[in-house]
């Protein structure tokens, strides 16, 4: 569904097989063939002196949804924010290790370009105090887009499954929308600059089940053109909406596997205890 104006340059994407555990399922076997969007190795992250992520190694395949689950404070949102260097906005934070996006070290990338390529959607919808149209057009304007804005705004709103609901009110304030519509508007805004990756930090935690289902359906359709990493506390959502799931605990990555495998036959007893609610 990517617009012709935004043909992506993925030719340099890595094609390196991730580590596959013994006894991995069919889907994990297929992951061997999948192109990798992110390759994270030996990632340590610190808030000042406090370490929040420990020696994390993870490969994130392209055009798949990877879910991060784990108890509060386990480091999943911290890890997510590393992927587009959003943590740099926090004073005294730093990381060591390597994060490669399509084989390129993100540390060496221009941060504005990185965040264009790796968009983010937050827990609470955060539309700008502007019209629906301007919310979507904003990112395009600051990226110096010279084409027909209205076409791309429509395209983005369609990709976010919001167009039919707002096409007659494009110049109304974004705040007039419901919570679920605002969240889809934020997704449309992120999609407008045609990112290769969308990071979603608990995007449905403030939404009702019907709107949550719309967002999950949207994620399913976006996979054609986008890689997604979602942090969620809702294990049913991780089970429904993701292809791969990573379980984190106390800053460590405990287990990463096919979602179907992890939720039926986890290999680590801590994962088992967490997902069956027998934690601690």
């Amino acid at each position: 569904m990517a617009s012709p104006a935004h043909e992506k340059m993925n030719s340099h994407s890595a094609r390196i097989a991730p580590p596959v555990r013994n006894g991995d399922s069919i889907a994990a076997g297929q992951q061997k063939e999948a192109r990798l969007r992110f390759q994270i190795s030996n990632l340590d992250f610190f808030y000042g002196a406090k370490q929040a992520v420990y020696g994390l190694n993870l490969n994130i395949p392209a055009n798949k949804v990877t879910a991060l689950i784990g108890p509060s404070g386990c480091g999943k949102s911290t890890f997510l924010r590393n992927l587009n260097r959003m943590n740099e906005t926090i004073r005294n934070s730093r990381y060591t290790g390597q994060i490669l996006l399509d084989g390129q070290d993100i540390k060496r990338m221009d941060v504005v370009n990185l965040r264009r390529r790796v968009g983010m959607v937050f827990q609470r919808p955060n539309p700008f105090a502007k019209s629906i149209f301007e919310n979507v057009a904003y990112g395009l304007r600051i990226n110096g887009y010279k084409g027909r804005l209205s076409e791309l705004v429509e395209h983005s709103l369609r990709r976010a499954a919001l167009w039919e609901e707002v096409k007659d009110h494009l110049h109304k304030s974004a705040f007039a929308l419901s919570g679920g519509q605002q969240q889809r508007l934020c997704i449309a805004r992120a999609l407008a600059v045609d990112p290769e990756v969308l990071l979603l930090d608990e995007p449905c935690s403030a939404l009702d089940p019907v709107t949550t289902a719309k967002i999950e359906e949207l994620m399913f359709h976006l996979k054609d053109s986008c890689t997604m990493v979602i942090v969620t506390h809702n294990m049913q959502q991780a089970a429904r909406a993701s292809d791969y799931t990573a379980f984190m605990l106390d800053g460590h990555l405990i287990e990463h596997n096919d979602t179907s495998k992890l939720f039926t036959t986890p290999t680590d007893h801590r994962t088992e205890a967490y997902i069956t609610g027998r934690f601690g």
Partner: protein, 221 residues
């Protein structure tokens, strides 16, 4: 604090074991109505069939409710899937016992064809398979479940042996054809009970280890 769900799972297991004990008793009584020439045992099997069928519906309802309301994961999910399948196998074991009871009533109208040697062995083997597959579930004992799978071949061999032997009796004396045929049907039903016990053991291994051992020849890449 123990979650209510854990209590529900335990209660479900107890109900399944109770159903297992009913099915096991039905098999024992049905075969012994032949071996001991006791028609009352066969009548008892027929009268208790409804209890097993009612248990099947009750257990299905419990499984459906827990799947819908608790959205179980990992071992809990595997347990519920295994219970759902075991439930069906136990009900079928009850049906096989009823078939044996019907055969027993017909066999008892005729003089005994031969001394019963293989039939008690076969019955003990099939009953032990049912018992041990359920014990494996209770104890989480994968080795015990595996041993049930291995016993299935012995039951099959005994059925073939009994079939050949009864065939010779039928060829020698046409007067015993009717009773001998019913004994072959008893053996056939015991063999099917062994198959159901094997299914149960496979489900128990799936529950314990997450391994699907049902069709080893299939290439599951």
């Amino acid at each position: 604090m123990e979650r209510h769900f854990v209590h529900d799972l335990d209660e479900l297991k107890q109900r399944l074991l109770w159903m297992g004990s009913l099915a096991e008793r039905a098999v024992h009584q049905a075969v012994h109505s032949v071996l001991d020439a006791d028609e009352h045992l066969a009548e008892s099997v027929l009268s208790e069939e409804d209890a097993i069928n009612e248990m099947q519906i009750e257990i299905d309802d419990r499984v459906q409710r827990l799947l819908a309301l608790q959205a179980p994961m990992a071992a809990d999910l595997r347990f519920l899937l295994a219970v759902s399948r075991i439930n069906g196998d136990l009900e079928r074991i009850g049906d096989q016992a009823v078939n044996v009871a019907h055969s027993a009533m017909r066999v008892l109208r005729h003089p005994q064809v031969k001394p019963y040697v293989d039939l008690p062995r076969m019955s003990e083997l099939a009953e032990s398979m049912v018992r041990d597959s359920l014990n494996a579930l209770v104890r989480g004992d994968q080795d015990l479940a595996q041993s049930v799978l291995q016993r299935d071949d012995q039951v099959d061999r005994l059925r073939d042996q009994l079939f050949r032997e009864l065939l010779t009796y039928m060829m020698e004396n046409s007067a015993v054809v009717f009773a001998a045929f019913e004994l072959i049907m008893v053996a056939k039903n015991l063999e099917r009970i062994g198959d159901h016990a094997t299914n149960i053991a496979e489900d128990v291994i799936y529950f314990i280890a997450g391994r699907d051992v049902r069709h080893p020849a299939l290439d599951r890449r």
